[in-house]
Every structure is written in structure tokens, then in C-alpha cells.
């Protein structure tokens, strides 16, 4: 074919071989490029497509504020305060070490910690999520950091909303706290709430009302997609037609109006710290209006929820978790205790309804009660002599209730206690509520595999043994006694309102049942007259000469209640009357006081539980009295004036 005039035959052959070599080289080289294109576009195409989507579209989030939490008079309890936060975008940071060193003198964070934090987030969340370096910047820090931004485009100052708890430690377990959502939680929440968007960086409720009402309080972050160039700058035209992405407006969270009264809430905490109180103030208080509205909710010791809003230090966190007094536990519902003598009115009502005693039946207490080989002591070594049921409540006689309980048997006690929803969760959904326990023969067989013994009935009849209740359950039950058998559902959120104060939903008091009417399931009921009998006994706890809380009267205002002192461990008969204050703290009795006021036309019910306070009178009754006073002062100035006036007249 080829015809080089000057070439020899051999050279032509050589050339043919060269051409073959060149064909092969070209084919191999092009083949390599085809293979590379296949690899990039077909094999990695999907992944690179996703990358390129993120690359050009920068998502800007328009933060939606979380709803506020207000008290019943619309006073802000949990607020949003504007704050500034320093962030670093790994995507736009070329020299992280240098940046970390540059900001170190301003925000006093170790450069190596900053580098570590950014790299960690980069690994976990990719380079596009800005990493929060420091929250709660002060104005000086903001200005100094803003100056650095010129040299470090990765550095950013973002406006944030800092959750602020006005009552700080008071009611912290009730209101809860917020934290940034974790990756794990995003998955969990997405499954749980399909309609609500949870994204990295979102602030979510982690406890209390903040957690329970998360989906109401949480706003929906708005999103806008802007097209950015390689340097993160906005391009001339945003939302250009060939990407067709509509901005999404932010939807603010809804606010909650609680039934809580800030004044009563503050008064309750103050009342818990009375001077005559023994030992540390560990325990809980719940103040409920007679229709179930909760006015105050205290659990001590507590923590300052504001510490969580700005990112709690791991040191403080572990301190809170490991504190033996459990400040993170909402003791109103999250811990149950033996109700002790505060259980007696329930047993009294059961005994009356079952006609084991009538209001006039006298029972003799010699100071102890013997059943089989067991000897059970009364509240006084000498006993109370011949007493009827109202006197038994007034004096908190154990022997009366040993006898009554023994005759009733545990199953009948269980039957009547259940009418008051004792040992049942309240459906308030605040915190991880425990149910407590009202034992029965069937329960013991099932749970422990053992047969119930009469001796256990005797112990459980005075609220010891297996019986466990929460403070909220006791308040709910006593409120039912005060209301002659009408059981109200406790509730804490009155209204949900939007940002324009428009009411979205409102919650009305709810009656769970009327105990004077036979129960649908068990058929059990208690006649109204028996409530009157028990109420009288509870009134005499204050008014009677032998009343266990007679020292805590309010002049001119009759109140009703019951003390409860529960042993935290068994003592020998020799030691049982030993002075409580002489025992080591953790062996001291818990003190309960549950009651309502005023005696006639009751308005509020209060349960006070004071751990290791030695007795109900010492630990609870005084607190009860102070809270009632605070209530009267605000809501019943007429009664309050009466009490003050009489007092003044007396001195």
C-alpha cells in the first residue's frame, strides 16, 4: 500500500509494525479513559451527583423559635433569649489549626480542642454542617470574632436562641431542659413523629414539659436554598429557574399556658425550706387545685436548667447524675415511697364502707397489736386507749388500722385504694412516671410467687410494706376525699397558644370517676357520709387536742390533712421509738403530709414528701401550712385577713 519512493522493502515492513504499535497505544490509552469515565459516571455517579447537589446548593436555615412556657397568668417561665454562637464550617476552612489559634485568645478555648471538635463533626456530619465552637458569646467576643472573619471565611457568628428558665432551679424537673438533638435521636424522632422535621442542630426537649410537649413547642425551621459558588459566596441569581426550589418559611413553635402559678410555685419552694425543718430538703411538693389544675410542683434538690441551654459541661453533668440525692429525678412522679400513715384515710374509708367499723365503733389500743408471733407497735408506746375512727385518724393510731386492716384483708384494701387511682400512673406524662404499687394476694403470687400472709396485711394497712405511691397520686387521692369522692384528673397545661396569642387548644378539668357511684369494673363505691367521717378525722389532725399536726393551725381557717411517717428500714422494738434525729441521716424516717384547705369548700390539695425528715409533722405539716397561707393571701384575701387579724388580736 504505502509507496515511499526512496524506501527499501524492509523499512516498509518495519513501518507496518510501528503502526500496529501506535494503534495499540492509542487504543489502550483511550480505553483507559473510557474505563475511567465508566467508573466516575456509572459506578460513582450516584454518589458524586449527591455531592454536587450539596456543593452548589447551600441550605440556609431560618431558625424558628421554640414556643414559650407561661404560667396561668401568662407570666413567662421559660423564655427565649437571643444569643450569639461562634461556628466553624469545615467546608470553607482551609487551615483549621491556624484558625483555631487565631480564635484562641478571644474565646479561651484550647486550639487542639477546637481542631478535635471540628474534625469529629466533620467525620460524623460531613463538611457542610457548621460546628458550634462556643455559645453565649458576649458582645466583645462577637466583635473581635467578626473582625477575624475577613481572613477566615470558615468562621461564622450565628444568632441563636438561648432557652432561659426564669425560675432557674425551682421546678426544673417539671419544666425540663433542652439540648441539641443527637444523630441517634434524629432517627428515633423521625420514626415517631412523621410530620415533624428533625434536623441536626435542632434544639429538643430532653426532660419534663419540654420533652412531653416537644412537638407542640418545637417550631419548624424554615429552609432556603441559595446557590453558592466554590467560595461559598451567593451567586448573582438565587433560586434560579433551573433548580426550581421554593424557600420554606419557618413556623414558630406554639406556647404553653400552664396551670402553674408562679407565686405559689415560689412560695412552695420557700415553704419547703422552713427553719424548723430537719436535715437537707430532699423531696417533693405538689399543689393542686380542687379541679385538678396543678398550681405548683417542686422537687428538690434541683439543678439550673439554664446550664443545659448553653451546653452543659460533662463535669457538671456527671455531678448531677451521681448525686445520691438525685437532683435530676422528678420526685413528684418519678419516685415512689411508702405512704405510711397518709394511707390510713383510704383504709378507713374501706373499713367504713365494708361495715367493719361504723363512725362510733371504739377500738382499744394498748400500745401494740399481736398477730400470731408478730407484735406490731402503735405510734405511741402507751397506746391511745379506746378510740373511734375519727380519733384514730387524728392521733394516727396504728393499732386501730392494724385491726381494721386485718379484718378487711389485703384484697379489699386493694379494691378501694384503686378507686383513688393509687398505684396507677396519672397520665400526666411528665417525666418517666412510676406507677407505685397497691399489693393484692394475686399480685404477690404473680410477682413473688408467694402466698399472702395476714401479718403483711397488718403492715400494709398503715401504708408500709409493699404499698408504694407517688406524691402526685396522694394529692389526687386526697383531693378526691376532699371532693367527697370525685376524682379529678391532674393536669398542668391549660392552653396551647400560637405566637399571636390565639388559643389553639384549651384543656378543661376532667372528672375521672365519682367514688360514691359503684365502679363499672369492680362495683366498689363509698358512701358520701363516710367521706364526711374521714374528713372530720383529718380536720382534727389540725384542730383536735391530739392532732398530729395541731401545731400548724392557721387561725380562722380550718384545714384537713394527714401526717405520715414512714420507716426506711426495720428497727427492733427497742429502737423503734428512739429519737429520729439521733439516727444517721439515711436511717431517718421520711415525712409525708397530705391535706387540703379550707376544710369547708376545699380549694387546694397539697402533698408534701420530705425524705429523711423524721416525721410528717416536722417535714410536711409546716410546709403545708405556709403554702396554704400563700394561697389564701393571693386567692382568698378575705380568709387571709381573718387569719392575720385574729393573730394580731391575740398578741
Amino acid at each position: 500500500m504505502s509507496q515511499y519512493v526512496s524506501n527499501s522493502q524492509t523499512e516498509t515492513k518495519e513501518f507496518s509494525r510501528r503502526y500496529l504499535f501506535f494503534y495499540v497505544v492509542v487504543t489502550l490509552a483511550m480505553g483507559l479513559l473510557f474505563a475511567r469515565l465508566w467508573h466516575l459516571q456509572i459506578i460513582s455517579g450516584e454518589e458524586l451527583k449527591n455531592f454536587s447537589d450539596k456543593n452548589s446548593l447551600k441550605k440556609t436555615t431560618t431558625a424558628s423559635p421554640r414556643g414559650l412556657i407561661l404560667d396561668r397568668e401568662n407570666r413567662v417561665i421559660v423564655d427565649n433569649l437571643p444569643g450569639f454562637m461562634a461556628t466553624i464550617s469545615p467546608q470553607y476552612t482551609t487551615n483549621l489549626q491556624e484558625l483555631a489559634e487565631a480564635i484562641h485568645p478571644i474565646i479561651k478555648l484550647e486550639p487542639k480542642d477546637i481542631v478535635k471538635k471540628v474534625n469529629q463533626s466533620r467525620r460524623r456530619n460531613g463538611p457542610f454542617l457548621p460546628v458550634s465552637i462556643k455559645k453565649n458569646l458576649n458582645m466583645e467576643e462577637v466583635f473581635r470574632l467578626k473582625r477575624l472573619r475577613i481572613d477566615y471565611p470558615g468562621l461564622d457568628i450565628q444568632e441563636t436562641i438561648v432557652r432561659s428558665y426564669k425560675l432557674s432551679e425551682n421546678g426544673a424537673q417539671l419544666f425540663g431542659f433542652v439540648r441539641q438533638i443527637s444523630k441517634k435521636e434524629i432517627k428515633k424522632f423521625k420514626k415517631k413523629h412523621k410530620n415533624i422535621l428533625f434536623e441536626p442542630g435542632d434544639i429538643i426537649g430532653k426532660a419534663g414539659i419540654e420533652l412531653t410537649w416537644e412537638t407542640t413547642l418545637k417550631g419548624l425551621n424554615g429552609a432556603d436554598f441559595i446557590e453558592v459558588d466554590a467560595k461559598g459566596r451567593k451567586t448573582y441569581k438565587t433560586n434560579s429557574k433551573f433548580l426550581n426550589i421554593e424557600p420554606k418559611p419557618a413556623i414558630p413553635g406554639k406556647s404553653l399556658v400552664l396551670t402553674i402559678d408562679k407565686d405559689i410555685q415560689e412560695a412552695a419552694l420557700k415553704a419547703f425550706s422552713r427553719d424548723d425543718y430537719v436535715g437537707d430538703r430532699v423531696g417533693s411538693i405538689v399543689v393542686m387545685k380542687s379541679n385538678g389544675e396543678i398550681l405548683a410542683w417542686v422537687s428538690t434538690p434541683s439543678y439550673d436548667a439554664n446550664n443545659f441551654s448553653t451546653g452543659i459541661s460533662s463535669k457538671l453533668w456527671s455531678q448531677l447524675v451521681n448525686d445520691p440525692k438525685k437532683p435530676l429525678v422528678n420526685k413528684v412522679v418519678q419516685d415512689h415511697y411508702s405512704p405510711g400513715s397518709t394511707f390510713k384515710p383510704i383504709v378507713a374509708l374501706a373499713a367504713l364502707q365494708e361495715k367493719i367499723v361504723n363512725p362510733w365503733t371504739k377500738v382499744y389500743s394498748p400500745g401494740s397489736y399481736t398477730l400470731g408471733r408478730g407484735t406490731y407497735h402503735d405510734s405511741h408506746r402507751e397506746g391511745h386507749g379506746h378510740i373511734n375512727i375519727t380519733e384514730a385518724i387524728e392521733r394516727s393510731s396504728n393499732v386501730f388500722f392494724y385491726k381494721a386492716g386485718h379484718t378487711l384483708g389485703i384484697d379489699r384494701i386493694h379494691r378501694y385504694a384503686k378507686l383513688f387511682d393509687l398505684g396507677v400512673k396519672t397520665d400526666l406524662n411528665i417525666g418517666y412516671e412510676v406507677s407505685g404499687l397497691i399489693p393484692s394476694k394475686a399480685w404477690k403470687k404473680k410477682a413473688l410467687g408467694e402466698i399472702w400472709t395476714p401479718g403483711e396485711t397488718v403492715v400494709n394497712a398503715i401504708g408500709q410494706g409493699y404499698v408504694l405511691t407517688t406524691a402526685l397520686q396522694m394529692a389526687k387521692a386526697y383531693n378526691a376525699i376532699a371532693q367527697n369522692g370525685v376524682v379529678y384528673q391532674p393536669f398542668i397545661v391549660k392552653k396551647v397558644i400560637d405566637q399571636n396569642d390565639q388559643v389553639i387548644s384549651e384543656f378543661e378539668p376532667k372528672i375521672i370517676r365519682d367514688i360514691t357511684v359503684p365502679d363499672e369494673e369492680s362495683g366498689a363505691y363509698i358512701k358520701k357520709e363516710y367521706f364526711k367521717t374521714v374528713q372530720k378525722g383529718m380536720k382534727n389532725v389540725f384542730q383536735g387536742d391530739h392532732g398530729t399536726a395541731k401545731w400548724y393551725k392557721i387561725k380562722g381557717v380550718e384545714m384537713a390533712g394527714k401526717t405520715g411517717t414512714t420507716q426506711v428500714r426495720k428497727f427492733s422494738s427497742k429502737n423503734i421509738y428512739k429519737k429520729c434525729k439521733e439516727r444517721p441521716y439515711k436511717f431517718r424516717h421520711h415525712g409525708w403530709f397530705v391535706g387540703y384547705a379550707p376544710y369547708k369548700n376545699p380549694e387546694i390539695t397539697i402533698a408534701v414528701l420530705a425524705e429523711h425528715s423524721c416525721s410528717g409533722a416536722l417535714g410536711g405539716a409546716g410546709t403545708f401550712k405556709d403554702i396554704v397561707n400563700a394561697y389564701l393571701k393571693k386567692y382568698r384575701p378575705d380568709l387571709f385577713a381573718k387569719s392575720q387579724g385574729k393573730k394580731k388580736g391575740g398578741t
Binding site: 504505502s2 479513559l33 473510557f34 456543593n55
Partner: protein, 373 residues
């Protein structure tokens, strides 16, 4: 006479390699469409004039191509040294008075046109080497003596372009020379010595011959993820652009990577990434396939050439265009380091386009003049 003339005329047309010209036309057309997309992005309204300028260069390119086609390439053989000498003077002038663009001195401003002598140097070297090799016969392969003069011819423009600095072009000149020498036949001992020399010289060249940015380019090629916002950025963004096109591409003017300036130099060196992103695997392979046909056609033209010079000059120019294509696509797809090397016929740029059209014109001329009568 009348008859003979008409025969001559019909022969004139049949001798013109339409297939070769059509492939060039197709590639230029694809390039034009693609350049329109690259220069009519959302964020740079002012750069649309590049498209129109390219259209002018293309017209000029075609005229050059056709003129050269119909000239007997023997003229180029005779004028080879003149071209070469003129080119070397231009390269020296670039060093003295050249325009500095992007940190490198590469252009001579001729008023209407900024000439890049390093581009035409590739053709000049191919012409001179073809002339030298075609005038001698090497039945036993080239020895050291035979390579001395061609070596000098190659090294002068090499050194001048390295100094600009334009590492890509200077290595390409070496590549053209090596291809031609391999084509002629060279003694095995020399290949081995050169390979060994190259291996030993690498660390020396690395430390003393390369500037910092050149070293960086190689380092980043080896590990582009090391500094994605910095120097390896181009490579990553380009790969993302190519890959994100997937099978069918994002569509004309819908490539987000290129439209939103993630790709630097997307109208010139990274034009192929625009094509790949917007037209996907199908479009990329189709275009690369056209290049393949162009290369195979050129090899055939070389094989069918009437003389050794024609065959050799075709090989030289082919290797020039082939290396450009391979290195550019390799760079855009991330298998080669980033070097400033345009994609023939597709990248924007007058110098590059006219040089390529001149080279292809010479090949076309070799094809046109393959018959002695």
C-alpha cells in the same frame, strides 16, 4: 485538455479527505455548543463574548485548514527550519516582552491576536524532526550520534517553555520527539539508558527543576483529598462534575458544577468536565470516540502517505493532538495531575485552536497529496 482538466477537478474533490474533515467539524461543533453552555452560566453574564470570539477563531481555523490542505506539504518540508527559527525567536521574545497571565509568561501580543509561541513550537519541532528523519535511513535503528542533532532541536524549545513556566507544553514537546524517534526505530540500548536516566533524574528535577506550584500539583494529584478547599480543589470539583453527569447528564446548561463556578477555567482547560456533567457518559464517550476516529484516521493517513516526511510529520502532529487529548481528559477525570493543557478543538482559545487546525491541515494535506500524480 478539457477532459483532462475536468478529470483533475473531480479528482481534486475525491482526494480531499471528507471523513477526516467531518470528524473535525463534528468535534468543533460539539465544542461550540459546549462552550456556549460554559460561557452562558448564571453567574457570568459578561463572558458570553468568549463564545463569539471562538466562532471567529473557528472560521479562521477552517480557512487555515483548507489553505494548508491544498498546499503541497513539500513546502513545509522546505520551510521547516524557517518556521522553527521564527518560533524560537518568538519564544525568546515571550521571555523578554511577553504578557504575564496567571503567573506565567506565554503570550506575545500582536494587537489583533495574542500569539502563544509555545503552541506553534510543537508543530515546528514535528516539522524539523520529520525533515531530519526523512532525509536519512536508519536500517539498524538510531544511535547516539543520530540523536544528537534532533536532541538539540527538541531541547531548545523545551528549555524556553520550562522557563515560562509551562511544564505541560515542554513535556509535550519531548513527547512529540520521543514518539517520532520510536516510530523511526531506535536502538534498545538507548531506550534503556534514557529510561534509567529519567528515573535517576526525577529527584534532581524535582528539587531543582520544578517550581513550588509544580511540585504542589504533583503532590495534590497523588492525594487530592488532602486539601480539598485549596490546591486539590480543582481536581475534586472536576471529578464531581464528571461523575455527577451519570449516564445521560444533567442536560444542556444544567450542570450545577460548571454553571455555578465550581469548575475553574471551565471554558478552557476544564471544558470536558462541562461536557461530561451536562451530557453524561453517553456524551463523553461519544466525543472521546470521535477523537479516537480522528487518531485512527490520522494513523491511516500516515500509513498511506506518499513519502517518509509525510508519514513522520503526521505521526508528530498526531502525537501532539493525542497527548493533549489524553492528558486533558485524564486530568479532568482525575487520573493525571492538573497541568494547563487545553482539549484540542473543544477548549476555548485562539492560539490553541489555530495551532491544532494548522496541524490537522498539514495532516489533511498529507492525505490530499498522497498520490504522486
Amino acid at each position: 485538455m478539457q477532459n483532462y482538466s475536468s478529470l483533475q477537478n473531480s479528482k481534486r474533490f475525491s482526494r480531499f479527505n471528507f471523513k477526516f474533515a467531518f470528524i473535525i467539524f463534528a468535534l468543533l461543533f460539539i465544542g461550540l455548543i459546549n462552550l456556549f453552555s460554559a460561557t452562558h452560566g448564571v453567574s457570568l453574564g459578561h463572558n458570553t463574548r468568549l463564545f463569539w470570539l471562538q466562532l471567529i477563531w473557528m472560521s479562521a481555523g477552517w480557512i487555515l485548514f483548507l489553505i494548508v490542505t491544498f498546499i503541497d506539504y513539500d513546502l513545509f518540508k522546505r520551510l521547516a527550519y524557517a518556521f522553527y527559527g521564527f518560533n524560537i525567536i518568538a519564544l525568546i521574545m515571550v521571555m523578554l516582552v511577553g504578557k504575564t497571565v496567571l503567573g506565567a509568561q506565554r503570550w506575545l501580543d500582536l494587537g489583533f491576536f495574542r500569539w502563544q509561541p509555545s503552541e506553534t513550537a510543537k508543530i515546528s519541532v514535528a516539522l524539523v524532526l520529520a525533515k531530519i528523519f526523512s532525509e536519512k535511513s536508519y536500517p539498524n535503528g538510531m544511535g547516539v550520534k543520530d540523536l544528537l542533532w534532533p536532541g538539540v532541536i527538541t531541547l531548545i524549545p523545551f528549555i524556553l517553555t520550562v522557563r515560562q513556566p509551562d511544564l505541560g507544553t515542554s513535556l509535550l514537546i519531548i513527547g512529540i520527539a520521543v514518539s517520532m524517534v520510536l516510530f523511526i526505530k531506535v536502538k534498545w540500548s538507548i531506550i534503556i539508558v534514557l529510561l534509567l536516566g529519567g528515573v535517576l533524574a526525577t529527584p534532581l528535577v524535582w528539587n531543582f527543576g520544578l517550581k513550588k506550584y509544580q511540585q504542589d500539583r504533583v503532590m495534590i494529584f497523588l492525594n487530592p483529598g488532602r486539601d480539598p478547599r485549596g490546591r486539590g480543589y480543582n481536581s475534586i470539583q472536576s471529578k464531581v462534575a464528571v461523575g455527577s453527569g451519570r449516564l445521560l447528564g444533567k442536560g444542556f446548561r444544567k450542570g450545577t458544577q460548571s454553571q455555578l463556578e465550581f469548575i475553574p477555567e471551565r471554558h478552557s482547560d476544564f471544558i470536558y468536565s462541562v461536557l461530561s456533567e451536562e451530557h453524561g457518559f453517553i456524551g463523553s464517550v461519544f466525543t472521546l470516540g470521535l477523537f479516537c476516529i480522528l487518531f485512527f484516521t490520522s494513523l491511516r493517513i500516515s500509513y498511506e502517505a506518499r513519502d517518509k516526511f509525510g508519514a513522520l510529520v503526521t505521526i508528530g502532529i498526531l502525537s501532539f493532538i493525542f497527548f493533549h487529548t489524553f492528558i486533558n481528559v485524564g486530568m479532568v477525570t482525575g487520573i493525571l495531575p492538573i497541568v494547563g493543557m487545553p482539549l484540542p478543538l473543544l477548549s476555548y482559545g485562539g492560539s490553541s485552536l489555530l495551532t491544532v487546525m494548522l496541524g490537522l491541515g498539514i495532516i489533511s494535506s498529507v492525505s490530499y497529496n498522497k498520490y504522486l500524480f
